[in-house]
Amino acid sequence: MQIAKIIITCCLALTGLLAGTAHALTVAERLALAAGDNDQRIAALARVVAVGDPGASPFLKSLLDDNVKLVGNKIFVVDAGAAINAATGDHVELPADAEDVVNNNRMRSELGAAIAALDLRSPDAAVRLQAALALRQADAADSTFALVVQAEKTEQDKKIQTILAEIRAGIELHSTDVVLRLKAARELAASTSAEMRQLLVGRLEPGGEADPEVRSAIATSLRALDQRLVYFEVAGTVFTGLSLGSVLLLAALGLAITYGLMGVINMAHGEMMMLGAYATYLVQNLFRQFAPAWFDAYILVAIPVAFILTAIIGMLLERTIIRHLYGRPLETLLATWGISLILMQLVRTLFGAQNVEVENPGWMSGGIELASNLVLPYNRITIILFSLAVLLLVWTLLNKTRLGLFVRAVTQNRSMAGCVGVNTARIDAWAFGLGSGIAGLAGVALAQIGNVGPDLGKTYIVDSFMVVVLGGVGQLAGTVYAALGLGVLSKFLEGYAGAVLAKIIVLVIIIIFIQKRPQGIFALKGRSVD
């Protein structure tokens, strides 16, 4: 029965394709689609799909959107409030006794599949891709088979072609021909989509596949598919872990510098990030108002603005408050906490307590889809690259410039550095400015992936402290390993234990780790140790 149906639709499709006439639907065809019981309507739909005429699409879409009304045998299409008589094309008043065409769920899915199948012939690759994805998601209707086969043959785009092959194999898996089923089952081993997995599982259930050989082929394919899905899932976790790690790195980098140099844990560091995020918000608003054409480039301006703003604030704080507290790290901790409270309240007064909206530049939205369960968003990729760039910059600054030389000297031995003529007070101010500026950069990044509000800093501060504790001070490498390691570890733990338990486990691991290495992964050795 089914194979006969497929053959018939194939033939019909071929004749339709050969005829190649792009005619809209006739009134009779429309009536058959809109009126009658569902089986008849679906049969009519199959005939329309078999003809494969893209001109039928608009009417099908109207049907799906419940915009088609019936008055006896007359069809009206409602479009933006106006009714169009389908027979004459005239704009008319919708008769009061017009009845809705009711589509149940089965009809809806058939209509959706039909529209997608017709879209496969669109000249626009993006439309074709969307159509293929929609078809794969829909319970692939047999009526679309011919169009899918045809499209697979002519498709130039590799990605779309792969999806179409999957859909075809999925339909063939239900065929009455054992050879065809076997071939389809083997073909599906290469699939990576969750939908095909669902399909394979369904066939293995009682009442599904009867032939033992095909059954074992399906089981083999399922195993291969599952294996691949697991790989992608692990890859996805590693990616989100790296993404979290790069955010932590940005947040902790500045902290590690100031802590290493001055022994100051800056509790206001999170608020510097918050200020950086608000600077991004302001720059974005200015671009939106004065240069909407350049909106996508606002981020390039936001980066230096955020850096300079937070660096200046950091240097001011160092000169006015923190300078007086050297040698008293615990008091510094409290004083910087006080600063953070004031900064938070200041932002609340200026911008309100609500979160503000920061929009991604256009080129940052979307992502690379590697598999159905692995999409790498562009904004996350950008942030990973950005944090690498910042890291490189800081490394260069510390290792290749005179300022960096002084900073390293003061970190290792403050009094000796002072004795050989390094102006340690000025180095402190510069380093604090640098640390705060990096926090500002972190703020730009955070504004792209999360909410921007007065409490932004507090969300990340405990985690970035943990990075510093774990990584130790005085070496960039420690911070990098600790940040990325913590990021990946917590994402893996989250998968098993949930976000809260993961945090607790990470903390316990850190405490145990510190038992072994109290000064962090990369402790300074020798005389520089206190």
Binding site: L334, V462, V500
Partner: protein, 367 residues
């Protein structure tokens, strides 16, 4: 040093100033109940229930400030986990209070309402025994004490100190806050415990009960003050001060700082637990926001503002900051954080000895 050979009572009250402090707190404990319960409403001398509730809070906070002073002021270890110990004591006693609600909850079930909402059929194992009053009292000190002991042993053993220790305790507090925010943890999620009905079968929302708790808090504070004084005057206390000032030298002299630090740290945590247990029935609620990192840091500023290493200073600091907070949040809520932030900066920059040091300075100038 010469005080060592005087009788104990004289030694502890040997100083006229100390008699003054003790008297002041004692008089407060007698006067406030009389002025609240006996003097009629409308009289100039009547103390309103609002003032009493703030006073009760301050007494509990003062205990925490005192505990903070022992560990920070005398031993030099800045804990950012005291808010956690306080909240744990509160939760431990809150469990008893929830048991006392009995069938009077919204759901009229034997279980607390939040467990009914979670569709739990029985109390989880860690709630067992919480219906006994004495056991609850024991839990109030044992839960924070055990946590402090285990955490402290690991931390002090590997000689984590200074800022590292502060940050690790902060992270611990944060982790516990997240844990208690979860509904499945079994402590009421973000609503915590509230709507208490009675203690030992006596209704909780009566003026008499409020006064009883107030006086009890006052007496507990007095006892803790006495105990703290004994500690800091003893040889043990002097070793603590020595650890604060030069830990390496203490080690070279043959002392193991681990035991001293661990003892005072655990004791300090237990004091917080008791304070929390007295606090919860007075304010009628305990929820995870008590464990927020900001709360623990605020405790440090009570001690810093009052004057570290003076015992009485942190009590005054707690009273001052809490009083200021009540006044600000009622009159100018948006300026409170500015004030608190400035307080942090001023206290650390200009008042290293806090209010007590300021008082001494002024006295010295005009003496």
């Amino acid at each position: 040093m010469h005080t060592r050979y005087q009788p104990l009572l004289l030694r502890l009250l040997g100083n006229s100033r100390w008699i003054g402090y003790v008297l002041a707190i004692s008089v407060l404990c007698i006067l406030v109940p009389v002025l609240n319960l006996v003097v009629p409403d409308g009289n100039v001398l009547h103390v309103s229930n609002y003032i009493v509730s703030i006073g009760g809070k301050i007494l509990c906070y003062a205990m925490v400030a005192l505990a903070m002073d022992l560990i920070w002021g005398y031993t030099g270890i800045l804990s950012l986990g005291h808010g956690l110990f306080f909240a744990l004591g509160g939760y431990a006693f809150g469990m008893y209070l929830m048991r006392q609600v009995g069938l009077d909850g919204v759901s009229h079930s034997n279980l607390p309402d939040f467990m009914v909402f979670l569709d739990w059929k029985a109390y989880p194992w860690y709630w067992s025994g919480s219906e006994h009053f004495l056991l609850a009292l024991l839990l109030v000190v044992l839960v924070p004490g055990t946590l402090a002991l285990v955490f402290g042993w690991f931390a002090f053993r590997s000689r984590i100190k200074g800022v590292y220790f502060s940050i690790i305790t902060q992270a611990m507090t944060y982790a516990f806050m997240l844990l208690f925010f979860r509904n499945e943890t079994g402590f009421g999620g973000n609503n915590g415990f509230t709507d208490f009905k009675r203690i030992l079968g006596i209704p909780i929302a009566t003026p008499e009960m409020r006064m009883t708790l107030f006086v009890l808090s006052g007496l507990t504070l007095l006892a803790m003050l006495w105990m703290s004084r004994c500690i800091v005057e003893s040889k043990f206390g002097r070793v603590l001060t020595a650890i604060r000032d030069a830990e390496s030298r203490v080690m070279f002299s043959g002392y193991n700082p681990l035991h001293y630090k661990l003892a005072i740290w655990t004791l300090s945590a237990m004091m917080c637990g008791i304070a929390g247990a007295l606090y919860v029935p007075q304010v009628g609620i305990i929820n995870p926001s008590e464990m927020s990192t900001a709360n623990s840091i605020e405790i440090a500023i009570w001690a810093a503002v009052g004057g570290r290493g003076t015992l009485i200073g942190p009590i005054l600091g707690a009273a001052f900051v809490t009083g200021a907070k009540s006044w600000f949040t009622a009159s100018f809520p948006e300026y409170w954080l500015y004030f608190l932030g400035l307080l942090f900066i001023i206290a650390t920059l200009y008042l290293p000895q806090g209010m007590m040091g300021l008082g001494k300075k002024i006295k010295g100038k005009y003496a």
